[in-house]
Symmetry: C2
Subunit: 349 residues, 2 copies
């Protein structure tokens, strides 16, 4: 994964996070646990003033090391927990650093399963100092029931053959490409890391089912006719656990265009033993059939491959072949190049 630094416009009228951030790394020793911090460095560099690691940490984002007080001096408004650990709990050893940040005038932002308010004493300390504890996994308290009313503006949704294969990165890359072309757009975040990057959004998997499509309608409100909302997809219509999330997001998003995200070589569904991955053709057909309900003009703009497991030649050959077969542009947004330009052009066509 190479670094990207194009600006991602800040988004939704819902949660607005206090940016820029100081990235908190705790005492992390495995890069895999610092995925959130790396995502922010790669996609929201302008919103990160530096990193704060505890003694013992061996992983770094490469950003400047700052204490909370130094970060506050440089304009930071919050310290963001950029690291996960086994079980998603917040270790006792981090507590002093979190309180140090509150005392330095920073709010705290977390995407962990455990809530910040569950850390003993933290809520009292935040209240005393007038600081916020923000859990991005918590959806807005008041969400509407969807109406199905067609909204003004253009919308693109990333969908997938499965979970966790590049829907967020694809949406970010498309939003970046539109910005480079001078086209008005917003990246609309639907998961915790996306929300941290965008500075706002709705964690769609945490919304009560009755309000799922309504939350998606709220996430991409009426806009100028030429404005694009680039919406981060969730789950998959073919995932036995998460298809309901994907369908609510599809209906509420009313996309004009969708991109199917896929990881070549993946053959079984994540977390669902015995479930074969659907073909790209099946995903296109199901997305058109169901998406037509709220936007009769829905169409597939192309395919995004996550080819991180292949070398450049293999990737290029595979994408050319599959593009030929499908009659649609296939590109890896992380590799970019002319194939990706074609994908963007076809989405805008």
């Amino acid at each position: 994964m190479t670094a990207h630094a194009h600006p991602i416009a800040s988004t939704a009228s819902t949660t607005m996070l206090p940016q820029p951030y100081l990235l908190f790394l705790g005492d992390v020793t495995e890069a895999g646990f610092a995925k959130t911090a790396f995502g922010l460095r790669d996609w929201a560099a302008d919103s990160c003033v530096g990193e704060y690691a505890l003694p013992g940490a061996t992983v770094s984002t490469g950003l400047v090391q700052l204490t909370p007080a130094q970060a506050a001096e440089r304009g930071a408004r919050s310290m963001l927990i950029g690291v996960a650990n086994q079980g998603g709990i917040i270790p006792q050893g981090w507590r002093a650093s979190l309180i140090e940040a509150l005392n330095a005038g920073l709010d705290l932002v977390s995407g962990m399963h455990a809530r910040l308010g569950e850390i003993p004493g933290l809520a009292d300390e935040a209240a005393r100092l007038g600081r916020q504890l923000i859990d991005v996994r918590v959806p807005p308290a008041t969400l509407p029931i969807a109406t199905g009313r067609k909204r003004v503006g253009k919308r693109l949704l990333t969908v997938g053959t499965d979970c966790a294969l590049g829907k967020k990165y694809t949406a970010l890359a498309i939003a970046g490409a539109l910005s480079e072309r001078g086209l008005a757009n917003n990246f609309r975040a639907t998961g915790q890391t996306g929300i941290m990057i965008a500075g706002g959004g709705i964690p769609m998997d945490a919304v009560v089912a009755d309000f799922e499509a309504g939350a998606a309608e709220m996430l991409s409100p009426d806009a100028d006719p030429d404005h694009w909302d680039i919406i981060e997809g969730q789950g998959s219509l073919f995932h036995p656990a998460y298809a309901g999330v994907s369908l609510g997001l599809l209906h509420g998003s009313q996309p004009d265009v969708f991109i199917v995200c896929h990881e070549p070589g993946r053959t079984t569904v994540l977390g669902a033993p015995g479930y074969d991955l659907p073909s790209i053709e099946e995903v296109i057909a199901a997305t058109v059939m169901l998406g037509r309900r709220t936007n009769p003009d829905i169409r597939c703009g192309g395919i995004s491959y996550n080819t991180s497991g292949l070398d450049a030649d293999e990737a290029d050959r595979l994408m050319a072949e599959d593009g030929e077969r499908l009659g649609l542009p296939v590109a890896d947004p992380i590799r970019g190049g002319p194939a990706f330009d074609k994908l963007v052009a076809n989405c805008l066509a």
Copy 2:
């Protein structure tokens, strides 16, 4: 709607409600607001010892009038709020009666939007007396993520061309018909009235989206190979607000057989102006396409019509015609008769 009194087996390993009930009618003056009480009288008569109405009430279920103390003497274990009012709030004037019930040794059961614990003083009084306040709209605190693993036993799900057209009543009628034939079965409730009737279940529309299919898996666990779970459907795959709920329920239920519920004459979707009702054929095709993912053998067992707006001759003619066209049995379970027997037989075939 005629009264039915066949036994509905008590269900899910999840919420178990304290039955039998005393039905609380408050000071209701419009029969429409007492829908819950009528549903319980019609479908769970054995679980209702009587009704308790306040001075001013003009609506009755026809059950014997009892005070909470008299009901407790006759074995009642809870008082159930069988009446709704505009806005779903619990009027101040009911408070004394609710406390009277707690003092008589009854738990309280409510399906209203407002929680029982929000009524000033009620939670303290219940705690003092060792009684429970049970809000059936609140799903279990711990729900699993769906695995998609195929479970043993047979399952039937009612689906619909829209909301609110007979999915609960159809499931109850099918469960009753199976019981009459001596076939082991459980009615599996997914909405508040159904849960009160069954004495257990999961309010599927109140579940967090990520756990929707997992909740449906939990609702109809492994059973004997010949056992039928008859699962109450929710929403519609074609409803722009609720399709995600319906898909999660479909995937998690893994039905072998589904029945499409429809109200002849309804042409637009409830609460979604501008949305035409899908045809029955479209609902069958979408349900098979999506349901196949977790049960490749899924099939349509027939169609349930809500013909309450037609006279008997019109209803019979219409159901015969449409059955011919669709090549499937069409029946109104409330009218019963040979058409309904055919529908049941085709589901079991």
